[in-house]
């Protein structure tokens, strides 16, 4: 790490802080993914690493290379934007696929069908005369 000696102390401390925060968030997310019970719990945990874990490490890399090359180096932000944009798409697809598979197997842990539009927000007082099947959550 010969290049690190050229880094001023404030930049080194900032980079170190962002690196530790990002890696710790990724570790917490992966540990949650490892230890949570059901798939629908587990699908939430890795987003910790993909949102601010990635954000902090990208920030550390940007600060490090900006100070080292004494010019603005921001191409790492491509990774941040890309991961931020694609990860919700991926997880929505995966969650819908898992729900589809669970419903196809008639798994009792998942609701049998989607609730009617607006039925979660508008509860009893709006549609009191709904059928018994529509009242199921």
């Amino acid at each position: 790490m010969s290049h690190a000696a050229e880094l001023p102390l404030w930049a080194a401390i900032l980079v170190a802080l962002f690196l530790l925060v990002g890696a710790a968030l990724a570790l917490i997310g992966s540990y949650g993914f490892y230890s949570l019970k059901s798939f629908y719990d587990r699908i939430h945990a890795p987003t910790l690493g993909t949102s601010w874990g990635t954000g902090a490490i990208v920030m550390a890399s940007m600060i490090c290379f900006t100070v080292l090359q004494s010019r603005l180096v921001v191409h790492e932000i491509l990774i941040g934007i890309f991961v931020t944009v694609t990860m919700p798409v991926t997880l929505m697809l995966l969650g819908r696929a898992a729900l589809y598979r669970d419903r196809a197997e008639k798994n009792p842990d998942v609701p049998a069908m989607d609730p009617a539009p607006g039925s979660l927000l508008a509860s009893e007082e709006e549609e009191p005369a709904a059928g018994p099947d529509a009242a199921a959550p």
């Binding site: 102390l9 690196l19 890696a23 710790a24 992966s30 490892y34 990635t54 990860m87 898992a98």
Partner: protein, 93 residues
């Protein structure tokens, strides 16, 4: 001084990311169902991408950034295709 601060932080970050990759890999191997394995692969590639970024900071070269970008793009395509496969049973209809 700044070299030592950075060295300690980079080593600790790499150790934490390695543990995170091991946890994701364990869940990918054990995972009771197919969607757990796909999500494990997703977590694994994100952690590997972060590990490459930390490698780039450690060596001071920007080459690793491109590898990390390629991993991010290919990982997104892989997970989307696998989720589609789980949903429909085929990737391209």
């Amino acid at each position: 001084m700044s070299e030592m601060v950075l060295l300690v932080a980079v080593t600790a970050a790499q150790a934490m990311l390695a543990v995170a990759m091991a946890l994701a890999l364990t869940r990918m191997i054990r995972g009771p169902r197919a969607q757990d394995r796909v999500l494990g692969l997703d977590t694994l590639y994100v952690n590997a991408m972060l590990m490459l970024l930390v490698f780039g900071i450690r060596t001071g070269s920007t080459l690793y950034f491109e590898a990390a970008l390629v991993i991010a793009i290919l990982g997104f395509v892989a997970t989307a295709a696998l989720a589609k496969f789980l949903m429909r049973g085929e990737v391209i209809e």
